[in-house]
Symmetry: C2
């Protein structure tokens, strides 16, 4: 049977299988979900075994386990290392979901569930493609290693360690990742640049306990006011991050790249409609697309303290907290940035309070040259799988693992993503387009098949990608 015919005939079977994976609430940020994380890892491992992969392992780490599998029975053919993650973002606020986050539901050609786009749905595209290849040909046409982690949403710390200590085990001719988006519905896309991510948390302490705002107001330091003053001063009036040195190493866009980016079938109007706020904002002197993909940011992700209940409570809280993050662009060094940010935060804080500063995670930005043969193979496979010309794009999000592996293994990284920016990856009603899911399976299967035509030495370009 023809490969694409097989895939089309097994649409429902693949989807049904994905439902099983999406039903497991594998939220990596919350310790109460540790058993679910374990179940999700087991589900993936069982599936890989069922497909017929070799060396399936659940590898424990200090936090959440990695799942590994391989197929190395294609001598003389290229070896691909596939990376994905089976953990998901917390689903809260639950009341904003149309259907429950862990009960996959199809509405109008979209599959709704936490993890449907980020990243279980995309991981499953590869599982379904591998299963299809195996069922049609009785073997895989190339060598494949898979490493699927459970900590992507909380910093990927343990997989870095694993990669550094297992370079031989993971050796491959290229890295393949599906955890990114397409530039627009139906337009298959390869992402060649990602922003890096540092995530921070600070705790501001004033008085030793909550105080009555009448009795002590006007005298006791207010940690909420301190946070407001601090974050107001971390941006200047032009929307630039006001941390000395923050922009020092930022790579500027070449004219060619600038032109290419602004020629993409990308619609600012669609973005505005999706965001739905009365207006957009950002750093002065840059277009919206540059702000999204090519400029670093500092963003508050959470802030809290004092009375948050119904009605009024006249309190000056003893403590207040903020979670915030910096997105980094090529050439910025997360370690240097974390030190700069902490230094500036401490410099801006008044002497009336104490501050606990934590950098919860660090991740490098990444950019690839995309002239190696594997990218041409990928573009062809995507164009065939979707019936529409595939394009090269950048992305504002972060996949710390990509940079880490790129640095350690020094191979090209192909980011072939099947999500869309408006699919609520980290918000209620996360979903994936079923057309993209099925198009993904077709493209990925074709990609694995077509790679067999390359010799291992031909995969990467002469230039280091």
């Amino acid at each position: 049977m023809n490969l694409l015919e097989y895939i089309n005939q097994h649409r429902d079977e693949h989807l049904h299988e994905l439902f099983q994976l999406l039903r497991i609430p594998s939220v990596s940020a919350k310790s109460e979900h540790k058993p679910d994380i374990q179940r999700a890892a087991q589900w993936i491992a069982d599936k890989l075994t069922a497909i017929g992969m070799d060396g399936v392992e659940i590898i424990p780490t200090k936090l959440h386990p990695l799942v590994y599998a391989e197929w190395l029975r294609a001598p003389g053919k290229p070896t691909i290392l596939f990376y994905g993650h089976y953990d998901v973002q917390p689903p809260e606020p639950l009341e904003l979901w149309t259907s429950p986050p862990f009960e996959p539901t199809v509405r109008k050609g979209r599959l709704y569930a936490r993890g449907s786009a980020d990243d279980k749905g995309q991981v499953h595209i590869h599982l379904a493609a591998l299963a299809s290849l195996m069922n049609v040909y009785g073997q895989l046409p190339i060598n494949v290693k898979l490493i699927i982690e459970g900590e992507e949403e909380v910093g990927s710390e343990n997989i870095y360690k694993f990669v550094r200590e297992n370079k031989r085990k993971l050796k491959a001719d290229a890295l393949l990742v599906s955890d990114t988006s397409m530039v627009a519905g139906g337009v298959p896309s390869i992402t060649y640049a990602l922003r890096g991510l540092n995530y921070y948390e600070i705790e501001i302490s004033g008085a030793e306990q909550d105080l009555h705002s009448g009795v002590f107001g006007g005298v006791a330091p207010n940690p909420l006011q301190v946070l407001a003053d601090l974050f107001a001063r971390l941006h200047d009036k032009d929307g630039r991050v006001a941390v000395p040195g923050f922009y020092r190493d930022v790579q500027t866009l070449s004219k060619v790249e600038h032109r290419a980016l602004h020629a993409l079938p990308w619609s600012e109007k669609d973005l505005r409609r999706f965001v739905g706020s009365p207006g957009l904002n950002g750093e002065k002197g840059y277009t919206t697309l540059e702000r999204l993909w090519c400029r670093p940011t500092l963003e508050l992700n959470g802030m809290w303290g004092g009375y948050m209940g119904e009605g009024a409570k006249t309190v000056i809280p003893a403590k207040a907290w903020a979670k915030f993050s910096t997105r980094l662009v090529p050439n910025q060094d997360p370690k240097k940035i974390a030190a700069m940010v902490e230094k500036q935060v401490r410099r801006l804080l008044p002497k009336t309070v104490k501050c606990k500063f934590q950098t919860l995670s660090q991740g490098k930005p990444w950019v690839a040259t995309y002239d190696s043969p594997i990218f041409q193979t990928a573009i062809r496979a995507l164009t065939e799988g979707f019936g529409r010309k595939a394009v090269f794009i950048r992305e504002g999000g972060s996949i710390p693992f990509v940079t880490e592996v790129h640095d350690e293994l020094r191979v090209p990284c192909v980011l072939m993503g099947f999500g869309l920016p408006d699919e609520n990856a980290h918000a209620p009603d996360e979903h994936i387009s079923l057309d993209h899911y099925y198009g993904g399976i077709r493209s990925v299967a074709r990609f694995y098949e077509d790679l067999a035509a390359l010799k291992p030495g031909e995969v990467a370009s002469k230039k280091r990608s």
Copy 2:
């Protein structure tokens, strides 16, 4: 039997009774506590009936009921209107209480429970004094009306309406309130000025839903950042409230009053030790005591939005919230201030977000001249009850009812308080000194007794207090 002897012999009985009242979690801010509010009102009414008061009523309002009772069988004697409240602040955060908030516990001469100082403990001082007078003399020496409300911690809205519509019922020669503090342990105090309180809540809306901070960061408005920018700009660099017109009507302190305030047995060192923060702050050009008692403030009481859980979530929240309040000093008009604050907030907000602005409550500041005979009677009774010279003080807190009644009934208001500023009125481990509780019962009973020596016309001074 002598009155003071009776009181001393019934110490344990009175305390045991107070425990019953403190065990009722009458939190007015939370609708789930409505039945507890009802139980507390009933408890007070039953107690007043048991004491032998006439006309005991539980008066329903749109929110929480008022309790009223009277004793009008002392013709030719002055009539006192006593005001107190049986509602309490929310007890959260629960984990910071040494013993549970609604299980009264005595440790080292202090009674710990939510409401012990603010204001159930102080209300009970009057109930115990009245019961003692009634048991010793078989009647009360003067005419007494009591009105005890259940909404003080949420704005007192319904009692205002009741006062306006029932001026005749509430007519009295003076108002008596015990909901304030003493200037220092063992130093009985009469408060002659209070700050007013306006309480506000704002909701900032940006995108229509939470967004991924990588995919949309740098472009989508961040309501948390908007709150930070807003509140940073609501104070200037000298710690002054940056709302045009805010200080316009503020009364300045006379030299005489300035000298009197700074001669009080009040210790900044004790305040610093109690607050426990690395430093204090406040408006430039004023002493700590002036900042606490005589200057208006704008204070954040709560702020929240985005991810507040364990670990990291890279989200730009769709909405963020803040609760804040302004403390007002004599001559500032809450209505004008609320309008100024809203206008300035809206002026400072960027066009990229929407804002819902609510003034949850308004309350006027209050100041009294204290040369009427009733104040001399009160100072003598307090001096006798505590065995130490009583003093006149101001207070930074607010009792909106005092101003409202003062405006409506135009009688002197005697604020005889038995708390201390460091008794955590709105925080975990709220407590009251048992010495102050017992001293309070002695002083109040003596005060009621001594007032019988005044003719109704003599109670108030010629000057309007």
